[in-house]
Subunit: 199 residues, 4 copies
């Protein structure tokens, strides 16, 4: 087989990212049995739309960065594959807290829902960092032809990930809604500019 | 890695299109707890079948055209990838308004449901146009070997997209059901004939 | 791009087949709110298991035959891609009648559910036949190096499809449960032996 | 077509594994209509998280081992493809017993739920063993260049599969919760170390 270990890993990874993103829409619901005015019900769903867009763009950009990182690698090992599986597990989990935000934002229990949402992003950022640090420390899995400057640039792009999502968790203590808007802003403005998919 | 930036983008895109189309069926439901005569209940589900077929064919043809467009490109940049992500976000969103039409067509709140459905198609057509115009203007991402006549042909195929879906939105003001039938007709008769997948 | 028109079509097709098969499990449900004895409830779910297994194996084998057919082709045209889209539309639809059988078999409304199930397979078989006849008639899309004996062998494998599923529909008039068991038998015994995936 | 029979099989297999893993999250639910304190409700969901993580990691590692096995093969035959389909059928079924464990663990009916969960893993392990034994016995489908030591190593990795999952089923007789924790431990500690994805 002409297949390399990295492409083998990428196939499963690609599938999980694309499916997790597309499943998000299933979490947006209207309780049709108890809806009297559909028009205003659709407008009052704005927390659902916000949560959907935020999670979708975040998954999309993380996926693209994932590919950029993997392109610097020539091999994978058992530990790395397991870290990758943990990363996918967190990405696949995202539809669940997304639904919590969609259903509870702007309602009495919003704080617990946003805690769950922000905490998921923190865990994802931590695992993603560990995943990259494992591969890049001592150039463990990195190809010889990849310039050191490229590794340093990726390191720099990874640095703010954990602090910025920790901040969304902290902000949720004071204002759940501000926390979600910050998560959206990260996805819409910060992540694209910091994204590694530039060539 | 032998991978090019466009194939990287295409993998995620392929997944999202195929999943969004296949998830549509999950939105067709029968409230089994309150169904007394299944046979007639299945016949009364025709708005669901109509919405399902319309959305499925539209996604399928947009996907094929997407491939045709990408085949003319030799590279992608950050902005284009973000536009592509917005396009996928809209395609993935489609199951939600499809369910609204499936549940509300021919019922009291049908107008709001059809507004949401038609508006989603308008937004999709706008983003799809911006996506293509960004790539093709000044041949920004287009390969040198691609003849100008091919770009012009694709431009021509894109031109009617936004106006025709804007028309379905306008018609929904007067007759929601006529709007959905027009969207179906576009998917079944107009899109295939205008499709870019001819060789 | 090194991509051929047939691989372009296959990517979307692969995705839809795999997703449709995997979504089937979502249709198996236990109404946890009203279940008192889970053990016996799980045993009484046998129509769900039967419907799940039948639909899953049928999709899997149709998918493998699809690949075998496409391998004989060197090009695709607009009409063929549209026929392929109609085939995928029917395959994606299958989870819906599968759920109907899962919920209604061995209950009062079973006949309507099994009519819907059998009718879906008939439509699928008809479209699949038209899809192949379109490609193979006059060797329209067939590669020059493919021996005529191969085309004849595939033709022969396609011949019983429509009659055999029409028979399941007919049998549903007299015994819905016998109809489902016949559909299962086709998937478990007939389809694998007639399958085109032998080399 | 440059495609080999094994890649043809792998595409469908990749899709089903990735989708089955990602669908798992849809089975974790909170009955939002009857939840008064979301925070404590989320903490009480720990059986759901346990079931989700266990099933996800198991699917991920089985998938990677699947690839490693297929890499030793140069061809597939009809029987093998059918065995592969049965394996996928079992993997796709996993979200159902996962939901049962998620909903019933630590509740009155937990034993039946855990029986279903453990039994599914036993069936999966049996089919997976048959699948590999069929391919490797007499090197039926194995490539000539693959050293016998590699086959023996894979055989050795397969040996404990059925007994260890049979043990989880046995333990469920005495303690359902211990059975689930053992299944988790297998996924988190045993499977990664026994995994075939080491190079």
């Amino acid at each position: 087989m002409e297949e390399t270990p990295t492409t083998r890993m990428e196939t499963f990874t690609d599938g999980v990212f694309a499916i997790a993103a597309t499943l998000l829409i299933l979490e947006i619901g209207i309780d049709t049995a108890h809806t009297r005015d559909l028009g205003s019900a659709l407008l009052h769903l704005w927390p659902s739309y916000l949560a959907y867009v935020t999670s979708f763009i975040t998954i999309g950009i993380i996926w693209m960065n994932h590919h950029t990182c993997v392109e610097t690698m020539v091999r994978v090992d058992r530990t790395f594959l397991f870290l990758n599986l943990l990363l996918l597990l967190t990405v696949s989990f995202l539809p669940f807290p997304t639904r919590l935000v969609a259903e509870y934002l702007h309602r009495p229990d919003e704080q617990a829902a946003v805690y769950a949402y922000a905490a998921t992003f923190v865990v994802m950022a931590v695992i993603y960092n560990v995943w990259w640090r494992y591969a890049s420390t001592g150039r463990r899995l990195i190809g010889q032809t990849v310039p050191e400057s490229r590794i340093i640039a990726i390191n720099r792009a990874f640095n703010p990930g954990v602090p910025i999502y920790a901040l969304t968790l902290l902000i949720a203590v004071f204002s759940p809604i501000a926390s979600v808007f910050l998560t959206f802003a990260i996805a819409a403005f910060y992540l694209p500019s910091a994204a590694l998919f530039e060539r």
